[in-house]
């Protein structure tokens, strides 16, 4: 298993998590005005919206590293190991975000952990069909799209956008959890042909 872990380049994943944690702490609850298509022309969003992309990138780079041909014909359940690694990454992201919220006294930072779960799940689902490059682009594009159309004219976040919802919003937590679970479920599917497991 140490060879599997080494093949996954854990340093890359750790770097992604560290950047996420550092940015969450540095940015805190800072709000910025960005262009919006909803009525007012601008909307105020937490800068934290962009931060989960770091851990998303680290995870995808990590999962892409390995001997694909040997792993898809291997006798071991590599997909299970990858799922455990991904789940651990999600838990670490949530924990880092909570810690950042405490350190910066910015409760909104907790949402960064939930958003990381959502974006990782989204990226993994897209990755299963079109590869990691497209998965990462879709995740980044989703964040940009949320700033443009994810808030209504009264600067209230829309539910489907997930990222802008308050940290304790039940719908947001549920959607993020479902998306992450879906991403875990499709993990192990390869874009190079189809495989049995």
């Amino acid at each position: 298993m140490t060879l599997w872990l080494k093949a996954r380049r854990p340093a890359v994943l750790a770097a992604g998590i560290l950047v996420f944690a550092a940015l969450s702490t540095a940015v805190g609850g800072r709000l910025v005005g960005l262009p919006s298509l909803s009525g007012t022309g601008t909307t105020t969003v937490p800068l934290l919206l962009f931060v989960p992309l770091a851990v998303c990138a680290g995870l995808l780079l990590c999962l892409d590293s390995g001997a694909q041909a040997a792993e898809i014909t291997g006798a071991r359940h590599i997909a299970t190991y990858d799922r455990c690694l991904t789940a651990l990454t999600g838990a670490t992201a949530v924990g880092s975000a909570a810690l950042a919220a405490v350190l910066r006294d910015a409760p909104v930072a907790v949402a960064a952990g939930r958003n990381a779960l959502f974006l990782m799940g989204l990226a993994l689902c897209v990755r299963a069909a079109w590869g990691s490059g497209v998965g990462m682009l879709v995740a980044a594009g989703w964040v940009v799209m949320v700033t443009l159309v994810g808030y209504d004219a009264y600067r209230t976040p829309r539910v489907w956008a997930v990222l802008g919802l308050a940290p304790g919003d039940v719908a947001g937590i549920a959607l993020a959890g479902c998306c992450f679970a879906a991403g875990l479920g499709v993990l192990g599917r390869s874009t190079a042909g189809r495989r049995l497991r």
Binding site: R9, A69, A70, A75, R194
Partner: protein, 252 residues
Amino acid sequence: MSAESVCFEGCSFGYRRNRTVIEALDFGFPAGRSVFLGPNGAGKSTVLGLAASALQPRSGSVRLGELSPRRGRDLKAYRQKVAWMPQQIDCVPGLTAREQVAYVGWLKGMSRAEAWSRAVDALRRVELEDHQDRKVSELSGGQKRRVGVAQSLVHGAEVLLLDEPTAGMDPRQRRVFHEVLGALPEEVSVVLSTHDVADLDEIYDNVVVLNAGTIRFSGPVKQFLAHASADAAPGRRAESAYDSIVGGVPAC
């Protein structure tokens, strides 16, 4: 020993929905050393990928004896018995040659300690022991292919599926490779896709020819060479036989 190694029963496969590469293939690779020939784009890599369970057939099944990778309980055992060396050898960033071969051994179900020691042995057999601590990404193209061969030897599979293993190897290394094949136990079947048809009868037992997703010929080397034209030069009989089979004469 069974007369056949990996068998295909009504297998169809396509990478895209409207384009089929293999249609209703009913065929079994003969046991022993088989060379797998065919024009570019015939589907050889696809057939090997199906046999390795890297690809899932759209219909039909693949079997090794009683084991079928389609059945969940057989999958692990099937994969432990089958080794696959694809055309492109993955270089796992940061791993040395020994680590990468040991990793593949571990993937095939070996314990870490066993995979580690068998990796050294496999690299020695392909004359890469002096490079075992070098990163795979730093090796030459031919050396990488030898790492790929070592990966397929490490876990002692019953069936080796090798896709163009000698591409990029120098003549001496090709000889070493053929010696490695020759040293394998009788029970191990080898299916080797190649474009190098020199010395067919000295190295291989059987020839399988694929064209446009269909098996055109499968049988002993002598039967294959019998398809050569009468005026073919002694050193070109294999080429002549290949031309006449691929040219449209169906296999018996």
